[in-house]
């Protein structure tokens, strides 16, 4: 009993020591003022409108640019993708590329599809962030705590991919990890179809122009990793860009067979 009391007293002393030490360390910091930058960042006129290209020329440039990324992806990120369709094998539905996903990284936030009764789930999203000199972009696994509103694993995959492409989660939470880089244009939508052996992501438009092949590769890799992590399936992922002459499909497609 007395030992327990002694332990408790030690613990409380340690708690107090932690409190004092944290204050001593942190109170020595003199933050610089940034109110001006904060207010300026939200001035409507300062909001970024993007540098979109418009019309036919834009569609051609962007699809072509992203197509290069797709072409690189199977060679550089997947050892078993040799049989994947190359971008040159276009069909009338638009540009296509197929990549076998890498094995889920050890840091993946979700290794299996969430269950509907979970209430909340850590929605896994692989966001593009600033990297190193030789690898300007990297993927950062982000787990967004979200209300689980999906009625199936397919919908959950759709939500995760949509969040990655739009930068906004279903509950309005912004995808904004440190060093975040958005490779997809504002207004881009994604339609995800999950089957037993393939996940198809159909984008309404191609990515931003001016990206290097490394950045394009990472952008597509983020789609693949996000889709496989959210679905909990280690299957190939096909990424398509909708044709510019017809409206993209907007609804999630078929349910995975039981």
């Amino acid at each position: 009993m007395s030992d327990d009391m002694g332990d408790l007293e030690d613990f409380r002393n340690f708690e107090e020591g932690v409190r004092v030490s944290l204050h001593n360390k942190a109170d020595g910091i003199s933050p610089n003022h940034r109110l001006g930058a904060i207010l300026e960042a939200e001035t409507p006129a300062k909001r970024r409108t993007g540098y979109w290209l418009v019309g036919v020329a834009a569609a051609f440039v962007l699809v072509a640019a992203l197509g290069i990324g797709y072409l690189l992806l199977p060679r550089t990120t997947a050892s078993t993708a040799s049989g994947a369709a190359a971008p040159a094998q276009n069909d009338k539905a638009g540009q296509r590329a197929e990549a076998t996903p890498l094995a889920a990284p050890a840091t993946a936030q979700a290794s299996s599809a969430p269950t509907p009764d979970a209430g909340l789930w850590g929605m896994p999203v692989y966001a593009t962030v600033k990297g190193t000199a030789s690898q300007p972009w990297l993927l950062n696994p982000v787990s967004l705590l979200e209300p689980y509103t999906a009625t199936s694993g397919d919908q959950a995959t759709q939500q995760a991919v949509t969040t990655l492409v739009s930068g906004v989660a279903p509950d309005g939470q912004k995808l904004n990890p440190y060093g975040y880089q958005q490779p997809w244009k504002a207004g881009t939508s994604a339609t995800v179809t999950v089957s037993d052996n393939l996940i198809t992501i159909r984008l309404s438009q191609a990515g931003k122009s001016g990206l290097t092949s490394q950045q394009q590769k990472i952008a597509v890799q983020g789609l693949v990793w996000t889709a496989t992590a959210a679905s909990g399936m280690n299957v190939p992922v096909r990424v398509e860009v909708a044709p510019t002459t017809s409206p993209p499909r907007t609804a999630a497609s078929r349910t995975r067979p039981a």
Binding site: F11, F14, E15, G17, V18, R19, S21, L22, H23, K25, A26, D27, I29, P31, N32, H33, R34, L35, A37, I38, L39, A41, E42, P44, V129, K130, G131, T132, S134, Q135, L138, L139, N140, P141, V142, L145, K174, N176, P177, Y178, G179
Partner: protein
């Protein structure tokens, strides 16, 4: 209406800045040990709060949202450092194989070495949640309910993380002493 709302938001965020800016930067600094990064994270948290001002019902909700953004931002920085460190080490290993350069030290480890305080070093080794709970509890002096709100976890989880975090801190400091 828009102008009036924006004006209110500007006044509100300015008041929030006056009362919480320094404390928030210091809180994030305890999580990151990097003042520049702490200011960046705190600034982003303020911008996010400013942007969502109309959806926050009162000052208490605004402060809770601000803290949540700051803690999430700090966690993103740590993850980013880990990702960059992993890539840098991989690059260094490749370079070493060719005999071109030696492996750079890890950013996180370097930050820890720069800070000689045992507590700071031990704090940096805790899992994210434990570190966040310890800092919010013993530096920001928040209640369990406030910490739960800031971290979006249950009060019960706050207790668990606080206890485990404190035990781990004490064990590690005893070992290194």
């Amino acid at each position: 209406v828009t102008v009036a709302t924006r004006g209110t938001a500007t006044e509100g965020i300015s008041l929030l800045y006056e009362s919480h800016w320094a404390g928030l930067v210091r809180l994030v600094w305890l999580l990151l040990h990097d003042q520049q990064a702490a200011e960046d994270v705190a600034q982003d948290a303020y911008i996010a709060t400013y942007r969502n001002w109309d959806r926050l019902r009162d000052e208490e909700a605004a402060v809770a949202y601000l803290r949540r953004c700051a803690v999430n931002g700090a966690r993103s920085v740590i993850r980013h450092l880990v990702v960059v460190r992993r890539e840098t080490e991989a690059e260094a290993n490749r370079a070493d194989a060719a005999g071109r350069l030696t492996a750079p030290s890890s950013d996180v480890a370097a930050l820890m070495r720069l800070d000689g305080d045992q507590l700071m070093a031990a704090l940096a080794t805790l899992p994210d949640r434990q570190r966040e709970v310890i800092v919010l509890r013993y530096y920001s002096d928040l209640s369990e309910a406030q910490i739960a709100l800031a971290l979006d976890i249950s009060p019960g989880s706050v207790k668990t993380h606080a206890y485990r975090g404190l035990r781990a801190l004490r064990d590690r400091m005893e070992v290194s002493a």
